[in-house]
Amino acid sequence: MSLPQPPGDDGAAKSPGPAAGAETVAASSGPQAKKQPPPEKPSDVRRRSRIILSFWLIVLCLGLPIWWQTTSIYRADLPLHEMLEWADGKACRPVFPLRINIQADSLQDQEAQNLLRLTQHALDDLNDFSGHHLRLQLSPPPGHPPESSDRESALTIRLVPGDTATASLDPHEPVLDITYPPNAIPTATSSSSSLATYVAGQLRSTFAEEQATISYLLSTSSMPSESRPLGLSPESAESLAKRATRSLKYAPTYHLTFSLFTSGPLPSSWDIGAAIADYMKPVLTVLSPIHNFTIDTQVQLYATPGVPNEVLNKEDLSSFVNAAEWPLSPSIGGAPTINFVVFVGNQTIAGERAESEHANTGESAAHSWLIPQWGTIYLLPLPDGTAHLSSAALKQPLLTFTSHLLSLLGAPRSGSLPLRLSTLGRIRSADLLLRASSTLGSLARLALALPSISIPSSVADGVSTTMLHLRRACETLGGAEGLAHARVAEAEAERAFFEKSMVGQLYFPDEHKIAVYLPLLGPVAVPLVMGLINELRAWRRRRRERRERGRGKKME
C-alpha cells in the first residue's frame, strides 16, 4: 500500500526521508519545517467513520452469520437426558409379574382361597428379588369359558389328592401336577401349612433358573443396584455368563444350514430332508411362535478341516472349521445363520469330552461340540465306501443339533419344553430391553463426547421410536406384546446408532480449515482491523483535542 497514511497516525516518526530533492533540503533544516496538510473537514471525518462502521457491521451482521450457518454441522435435538436415564435403568424397572393358576377341583372354594393365601405368603417370604414376582390366582372351575387372564398365566398348578406330596411337570403343557396327602389341607384358621410351603418351594425351584438368568442380565447391565438381587454365587454367575455368550442375538428369523462335509469323495448324498422332518421339525414347530426358521442343506466333498490332526485336542476344536475353504458364508438377507455341520472323517476328540454340560445324550458327547453363536459340529465316523447317509444314520447328529439349537437360542436347560419356551420369551424380552437401553446410552454418550459429529434427523426419529417402544415394552413386560415392542425398540436403536451419515464428517481436521480460510481471511482482515484501530485512535485524539480546546476556552 503506497498510499500515505492519514496525518497524525504516527506522530513519533517525524525523521527526514529522501522523498524529494527539495524536501531533503528542507528536512535538513529540522523537522519543524515539515508542511502540514490542511485540516480535514468534519464531514470527511464523519464519513470515514461511517464507512468503517458499515464495513464492520456488514462483516459482523451478515458475514459471520452466513459463515456460521453454512459451515455448522446439523445436529438434531436428542433427548439426551432421557436416553441416559434409560441406560441407567431409571426410566423403567423391569418387573415380570407371573400369573400362576391353581387348579384345585377337589377342594372347597374356601379351602382353596386359604391355601392360595398361605402359599402366596410363603412365596413372598422366599422371594428376595422384586423384579421377578410370582402371583397366584385360582383358576375358574372347569366348564366356564377361560377368561383373558387365564391365557396369560405362565403355569397352572393342578392339585390332586394322593398319598404323599409329589410334584411333576407335564412334558407337553405348562402344568405342574402336585399331589397332596389328604391331611395336608390347611384349615381356615391356621397360619402355616406344610402343603403351602411345599407348593411354594416347588414353584421357586421351577422358576429358579429363569430368576437367576434375569438377575444375571440385570447385573451385567448398568441398572441401579436396588433392583438387583443379592444372592448370585460366583459359580452360577459364571455359568450364566457362559450361556449368555453362547447364545445368539435375538432375531425373529433364523436360518439353519445343515452341511455334510466329507474328507474324501464319499458319501455324497444324504437323506437330510427326511431326517429333519423326523427329528427336528417337532421342536421347530414348538418354537415357531417365537422364531421362524428357514432351512437349507448342502453337501461338500473333499473338505480339509482347519486342523490336520487325527486326534483333536480341546484347543483344536476352535480352529477345526476351515473358514477359508468351507463355503459356510452367512445367508444374505437379515436373518442370522446357524450352522450344523456333519463332518465325515476319521478325526476323534481327545479326552472324555469338550463341553460336558451339553451331554444330554451320552453317546453323542464324544463326537460333537458347540461353537458359541455359530453352530455345532458333529464328527461322524463311517465305514469306508458308504455312499449314502440314510435318515437313520442321521438320527444321533440331529438330536444333538436339536438340543444345541435350544442352547444357541438361549433357552434354559431345566424344566419341561413349554415352560422352557415361555421362559425363553421372557428372558429375550428382558435382554432386548436392556440392549436397546444400553444402545441408547451409548448414542447419548457419543453425541456428548464428539461435538463435531453430525446427527441427522433420522437418528432423532429412531431414538424417539425406540423410546416409545421401550416404554410400551416396559409396561407389557412378560407377555408376547412386550417381546414385540422390545424387538422393535432394539432394531430401531441399532439403526439409529449405526447411522451411516454420522461417520462421514467425523474427521475434518483443523489444519484443513486453516488452509482454506487463511488466504482469504488474512488479507481481508488486516486492512479492516488496521482501519478500525486507526479510526479509534483518531477518535480518541479528536476527543482529547476537543476537551483541551474546551478547557482552553474556559481558561480564556
Binding site: 498510499l3 504516527d10 522523498a19 527539495a22 470515514r48 448342502q298 453337501v299 444374505i332 486492512p527 482501519g531
Partner: protein, 604 residues
Amino acid sequence: MRQLCPALLLSLLSLCVFPPCAAASASAAADYHEQLVLRPLPLSALLASFNFRSNTTVSEFESGNFRFFPRSLGQILQHAGTRELHLRFSLGRWDAESWGSRPWDGAREGGTGVELWAWLDADTDQEADHKWLTLTNALSGLFCASLNFIDGTRTTRPVMSFEPEGDHPNTSAHSMQLLYGVLPHEVVCTENLTPFLKLLPCKGKAGIATLLDGHKLFDASFQSMAIDIRPVCPPGGECVLQIEQTIDMVLDIDRSKRPRDNPIPRSLGGHELLCDTSKPYHSHDTCFPADQDANQDWSLSQIFGKSMKGTCPLADPTVPPVCLQVPESRAVYTIDGAVEIKSRDSRCFQISPESDLELLLPPPGDEAQDGAAADILPPGTPPLYAERSFTGYGQERGGVQTILRNPSPDTEVEFVYMESLPWFMRIYLHTMEARIAGHPAPSPDNHPLIQQVYYRPALDRARGTQLEVRMRIPPAATVFLTYDFEKSILRYTEYPPDANRGFDVAAAVITILDPQRNGSGRFAAYTIRTTSLLCSLPTPDFSMPYNVIIFTSTAVALAFGGMFNIMVRRFVAADEGSEGGLGALRGKLLGRLGAVAGRFKGNQ
C-alpha cells in the same frame, strides 16, 4: 471350391469340436459332468477348454437342498429373484486372425474385465433395479470382484442382443427383465478363481479342476471364466436348474514350459535355434526363426505344472474327462490304464478314478514335415472379424471406428452390434455411418448396411449410452462403422485414482444372428467381443481446488484492500504526508546509526 472348403470344415468342426454345447439339452439328465478339451493352435498356442456342468431339480432348489448346485450361489439367486444369470471374467484378447474361430462359438466369453447379465423376475423397472442391486452386491462378495460398482451408469437393458438361453415358461416371460452390466476396468486374478473353484462339487481336489492353477491361468494369453445358470426343461421330464462353469484359456506353450522357479526366458544357443532354411539368406551365421508350429511338443504336467489327479467321482462316468484334438497322424502317449477313445480328429481318454493322468505329445515325426498344417488341426474361420479403435485427436472430441470383415465368399452376415458407453462419451448419432471399404460413398439405399438402430442416450451421471445396431454385411466385404463423440469434463471428485491412465470403455458385443432361427436354431450363431478401449479425458491438476481457493482469495483480498483503503484514507500532497513504509524505517535506522557513530566518535 477351394474357398468353400474352410466354411465346410468350420461347420463340421463346430459340430464336433465342442459337442457339449450342442448336446447341452440332451445330457441335462446327468447330474454332474466335466470335461477338458485340449486343442493346439497355431503359433505354439494351446487352447484348454474346461467345462463343468451340474444340475439340480427345481423342486430341490426351491426347498433349499443343495447337492451339486452351490448353496452360496443358490441363495443369492433365490434372494434376488434371478431366473437366468451369466457372469464372465476375462483377460486378454482372442487372436482371431491366427487362432481362428472362438471356443463355444463365443457364447462363453466376455469382454475384458467382468460382464454380468441376468434375467430378473420383476414387474416394474424399480423392482428390477432393486433386485439388480442386491444381486450385484451379493455376487461381489461371493467372487471377490468389484461387481458392486455396477451402478446405474454401467447398467443397460439390451433390446436386441440377448435372449434367454434357458427354457422359461411362457407365463413368466413378460415379467422377466434383462439387465446387463459391465466393468471393463476390473482386473481378473486369483482371488476370482478361488471362489470359482469352490463352486465345483469336487473343488479343485479331483478331476480336471486339479489342473487349474492361478499361476498358469492368469499367465495365459487369453482366458475367460464363465458361469451360466439357466433352467432347462427336457421334454417330458422335470425342469432342472443348470449351472455351467467354463474356463477357456490359451496358453503359450513355450512360456508355460519354463520352470516356475526360473521363469526368465534365456536365449537359446545357436545350435538350438530353429531356422527357416528356405530363406535365401540362410547360412551358418544368419538365421530366420522358423514358424513355431514345429515346436508343438508338450506334456500335461509341463503345461499345467502338474498332472491330473484322478477323476471326480461324482462326474458322469460316460463322459471322458479329457479330450485332445489333434490330427490322427499325431502320436500321443499316455499312462498305462488310460483308455483311448478315438474319433475323427479327436481323442478322448478315460482313466480310473484313482490314477493320475499324464499326456505326452512328442515332437511331430519326420513324416509330417511336408506340410506344417499336419501337426495341428487347421483353425476354423469365424463368420466375422471385428476390431475397434479410436480415431481423432485432442482432448475435446474423438471418434470410434469398427472394422467388420465378412470372410465368407458367398453368404452375408447379419448381426447386432451393441455398445454400452460411459456417459462421459457423448456420441453424435448423426455422424454414425457405415461404408464398405473401397466404396467412397455410403452404401446405396437399396441395400442398406444398417438395418435397425436402437439408441438410448446417456444422462449425465445417471446412465450410459446404449447403442444397438442391426447390420447386414454382404459377402467378402469389409465395412467401416464410424461415429464421433465428445468428451465431457468430469467433476473433481469423479476422477478415479490414476486418472491419467484413461477410462476403460467396455467391449462391443457383436451377436451374429442365426440364419436358421425359424427352426430350433439358437438365437445367436456366434458372438464376438471386441477389445476394450482406453479413452483419455482431460484430467485436471488435482491440487487445483487449493490453487483456486488461494488464487481467488488473493484476488478478492487485493481488490478489497485497495477499495477499502481508497475509501478510508485521506489523500494529501506528498510533502505534507507523514513518512511511512520503507522510507520511514530507513530514516529511523539511519538516525540510530548516526547516534551510535557520534557516541563512538565522542568516546575516542
